[in-house]
Symmetry: C2
Subunit: 330 residues, 2 copies
Amino acid sequence: LDEFQLTARYFAPLAREFPGAFGLLDDAAIFSPGAGNELVLKTDTIVAGIDFPPDELPHFVARKALRVNLSDLAAKGAVPRAYLLDLILPKNTDEAWIAGFAAGLADDQAEYGVHLLGGDTSSTSGPITVAITAIGEVRVGRMIRRNGARHGDIVFVTGTVGDAALGLEVLRGKSMASDSTDAEYLVGRYRLPQPRTMLGPRLIGIANAAIDVSDGLVADLHHICTVSRLSAFVDAVQIPLSRAARSIVTRESGCLATALTGGDDYEILFTAHPDATPAIRQLSQAVGVPITNIGRISALSGGEQPRVTVLDDERSLQLRSEGWTHFSTT
Amino acid sequence: LDEFQLTARYFAPLAREFPGAFGLLDDAAIFSPGAGNELVLKTDTIVAGIDFPPDELPHFVARKALRVNLSDLAAKGAVPRAYLLDLILPKNTDEAWIAGFAAGLADDQAEYGVHLLGGDTSSTSGPITVAITAIGEVRVGRMIRRNGARHGDIVFVTGTVGDAALGLEVLRGKSMASDSTDAEYLVGRYRLPQPRTMLGPRLIGIANAAIDVSDGLVADLHHICTVSRLSAFVDAVQIPLSRAARSIVTRESGCLATALTGGDDYEILFTAHPDATPAIRQLSQAVGVPITNIGRISALSGGEQPRVTVLDDERSLQLRSEGWTHFSTT
């Protein structure tokens, strides 16, 4: 199959319902935000052997590539709308792989209400590489920024933290889950992010600052602190852990640090005024996602640099690193 | 340097003048088209060893990656505005390479008036890979489509055709330019596309259908014919060749076919009503780019499939292939 046949068979169906994609039969796509809205744009790449195991099923590769981008949109309060795809494949990739990949996209398009706008397929002598540019919408001027945190804000996080990092440890045989159900749950959280796309847009008017947890809880909170020129204190005992994660953390030393600094959670970390607490509790119930108070934001004292302190039983927890940075760690 | 330091040093300066990029210090960017405009979106990837030589200078890699996308926007009549970048690099890439790459982007941002909106850097065990998503604007509903060609239209092409394909042949030692000046010119046309961004938007209201010549003149004209449900006839002697290309074509048999089917011209191929000819001549003079009548568009006779016939001295020229498709040729 050449590029045109591939496009017609597997990718054009993903663009069918979006008029501006022109059935992938033109050079470019058209997009207009709705009246009073502006576009929120995000691009992220995943690479085999770095961001997912080389033998990962294509269905999961596709959905992970899309979801890591949707997670950023969610953290900004944007409603996801569409995406563009750059699919870079080894020359020997078979059609079944591509069919599985397209099926994964189709499933997630249905789940998240997004459409393929356009794309490009390339061949490579290297590993499978998927770059996606996702497009969402927010009301003009309402995107939730990283830099809006204020002194006195409470730090909240959605869902549970550390599952994906521990799932990767389990996958690598470095940690042991209590049983196969726990192992499956944790590995599943690593393989397939659950972007908080329903919750994110409802944080507008509540959250002062937000980010999705992809580099690791501490690193991502540090990002908020750096651009907001503030510091944060996190209470380790308040970190929301799943039952499966808690079981490992209580048995294996160092695993709490893994949970706090491991990447790939794809939860939303945000700060809000204490007065917003009832609205946050209500929102949590409405969408069925736990939202946990894990710490607070504090002004810098003279000359202090923005930093994140994790308090464990009143002691400051020493972490070897704050989290994932692509060029220094794999 | 980790990803954050790289971003701060080399990429944040490229986003400085675009407020919606937030200095690359947020998770996502904001973009709004101007009043009465809509966005035109295009993504394309280039891979070392496939789309450019593995030892290509980073300055050229950056500009090629950007320009292949700007060329698509130009062919659609869009004014380029911004882009997102996915930069996927081998782990041993040194800082000088990244500095050269960023400098190439800076030069082209100045030349084309575009801004970096956001991006992602990843590491790979494979070759250098650059995916760019470019964003332009057109008046609502005015994008020049591929499918607008009509029976009786004249086929026009900007600039000269075949230089890049012959430049690649020269680079590979398969063809010989007349002298070093010619060789340099042809190789330059391969290394660095010249997207017709000034001309493209002025084709709105003139061109009925347009595409940029990236797969090869015949293949790209075929794309127009397929979606317009028409056929085309191209007069080989009318094909605009540069002096350097003509010198090879007259000496080496097969090189006319290379010029007609080779990719990477990044000229605009369009069709227009014969009455538009004076306006096209005027436009050509105004922007200082030749625009040549190379053939005509014709209705399909009963049962006929859309096709492109190249007439050379009244005989139909037999071409082994129509052009470049990524998965069947390198």
